[in-house]
Amino acid sequence: MNAQAPALRDPRLNRPEPLAPPLGDGGFFQRDRSIHPPAHAPGYKSSVLRSPRQSLLSLEGSVSEITGPVFGHNDLGPLDNDLIRNYAKDGDPVGERIIVHGRVLDETGRGVPNTLVEFWQANAGGRYRHKKDTYLAPIDPNFGGCGRALTDDTGYYYFRTVKPGPYPWRNYVNSWRPAHIHFSVFGSGFAQRLITQMYFEGDPLIPICPILTTIPDKDALDRLVAPLDLNASAPFDSLAYRFDIVLRGQRSTYFENRTAGN
């Protein structure tokens, strides 16, 4: 904790109302696998030995899949969504200060309320605070690189951090990851569980990234690229990027008894 950083301000704006009325009870929409990377994507070498080759067994969503863990504010600490402060020791982390915000929606356009969003990233130099990361860029003593937030009743989330740097990795000899932030989202049922990555508008490494280009659908790829959102920026403080996340559509109604903290 340090005294220099001004408090994180809620940058919310333009929160649209949910589009669709509640649908019938039970289950999620069929997952459209054509917009996801295939398991076996040889250009991303790590996938070659780690991809199942048999067909997946199609399961009609049962109670095992339409339910999932419930999280509440009790699971989070007060600084969890402020990566500028949550690991600060004697000052602010180095790097461009940014706000990342958006909504977690389902495919019908409804916000997914009270759901846990977790995020992690490299520091401004492209180095992860991880004992297995040996990249020569320095560790930032004031930056941990992870945080989490619970969406509000409209599915809205936000956090503050520094923009991560790109970094090299051993895929091709000269492969570099575009700057990115990893996201993990739960949704309301275990079948909505998703891990993805957010990229930054204008990054020239995006079109040549062996991981990003595993996505066969150009539009699906573009939706992982967060645009600069000047309206949500904090003047003389932080730029903002907007990143909406869409989970599987759900046919079930929302659960009024699923309030935060239960």
Binding site: D32, H36, P38, V63, S64, E107, G109, G249
Partner: protein, 208 residues
Amino acid sequence: MPQQLNYLKETASQTAGPYVHIGLIPAMAGFDIFEKNFSNVLTTPDTEGERITLEGKVLDGTGTPLRDVLLEIWQANASGRYNHPADRSAGALNDEFRGWGRAGSDFESGLVTFETIKPGAITDKAGRKCAPHINVWIVARGINIGLNTRLYFSDEEAANAADPVLNLIEQPSRRSTLVARRSERGGKVVYSFTINLQGPEETVFFDV
């Protein structure tokens, strides 16, 4: 041209990468940051049910254990009820059991462990009894979209033989890829599992 349906599209999945621990299990990455951490221990002293240890590995196409994999499990309580409002079955809820945990594999051995309870049998929409099982979700570097599978229990032979999901698997030999083997070690009940990502013993994964 017909009217547009105007559904949104699901956000594309991306690999969790080798450093998934930073965000989801920071202590394994080598640092302490959150006041409250999630873990591989699903029980409290007041959780009802038979204590079990789940212990296993995820193997790649060469049989090598993944040493950077992250697993999450989701399960019903001992009464066969999930701690979620969409489960309206008759079993009793137990406040001391969320039913969810996550674990990273050991960086040397690849071993993954959970401390939990054995779930009860659940009833599906058609009213059929389903054998006790634990839902498993697997992410790692090189896994482009999280893999869903289940663990069943070797001492539930009759229930497994009647389980509607196991019976969807056309090849009987593949059903055993979902069954964890019971043993006892030092007074603890241990269920051992192996998840094979490829090969003749490839685990059955689900499109849920």
